[in-house]
Symmetry: C2
Subunit: 210 residues, 2 copies
Amino acid sequence: MRSPACLAAALLLLALRLPAPAVAGRPLVARDRKPAPSEAAATARWLAAQNTWGVLSTISSDLSGAPFGNVVSYSDGVPGESHGIPYFYLTTLDPTARDALEDERTSFTLSEFPLGTCGKVDPENPTCAKLTLTGKLKVVDHKSPEAALAKAALFSKHPEMEGWPKNHHFEIFKLEIENIFLIDWFGGPKPISPSQYLDYGRDQGSVMFL
Amino acid sequence: MRSPACLAAALLLLALRLPAPAVAGRPLVARDRKPAPSEAAATARWLAAQNTWGVLSTISSDLSGAPFGNVVSYSDGVPGESHGIPYFYLTTLDPTARDALEDERTSFTLSEFPLGTCGKVDPENPTCAKLTLTGKLKVVDHKSPEAALAKAALFSKHPEMEGWPKNHHFEIFKLEIENIFLIDWFGGPKPISPSQYLDYGRDQGSVMFL
């Protein structure tokens, strides 16, 4: 019989719509290279799983509502287990977190170029993939079970974060995705809904991008 | 005696406040590594000279005014001659150019991380430099002498651009810089004015980041 703690964890995963951790014998979507251009949701998830940093754009309160892009680290899961939701570790000493607390509208932008898989193709060439996730940047309650999962995701990919100054009051933020813009081939952006993106691989357990 | 064409070019450079191309015997600021954290304007110019792509953030007309970051290539001069003004080659088939034509407010964000000079330091660590230039994104008249200089800057660093489809109607855009946000060390953003940034190295001819 399962313990109450295990049941609680299972209910939490269900509530958060996160896939369960991979277990022995459970099917796993294992991808060892960039998905084909025809696989839009897979490509978007691959970009989110492979990168470790991107640009968060907010509506700047310091600059009278101008858009303001800032370089940030993120994680969408512990290595090998990607969930697609980007988590961030931000302090209000930085304008991005302050902006988001005033106006949640945010986009998060990733490029394939720094992964080294675009070869000699120009970073702006449509075959060198680009992903922009737009939505609302929200603080994750630091006492919540989701915060524990997000911390594991962040600290496993960014070990130095755990030692960042306590008096800077870093908080975990997440992007609640409302719109997805993916260019991974000629012919314009690929239509992907947030649920197509988040559900990718869910029916097969977890997604492991190698 | 100098030819009228040469005189016209000199007057143009003066009008655009661009440094003259380096000539034999003229002093040149040659930097072969990342400037020290105390040299804020030099660090910002080094980041702009060394990178070839970044994220342009606009106010999205498709997404009801949300900020929208997009991966783009750029150039601030032919290799070895950096002027600090980022030029872009954009088409209105892409939302970024359409957004800028409706609302010029834009920011352009660069990271040191993809240059490989941050070592094992996290991309969000303040010692791994980050630069955000905020201002107005403007079309450069394609018949103007500035467009010729911008094309030389862009096509020398992004050779494939010259062959991009004519029927996509690419235009040259420039960022008119109004605000500079640079993090290159602990202690918060460095105050740099647009003129401090643009004038860096001007009194010594040209800036060559090797």
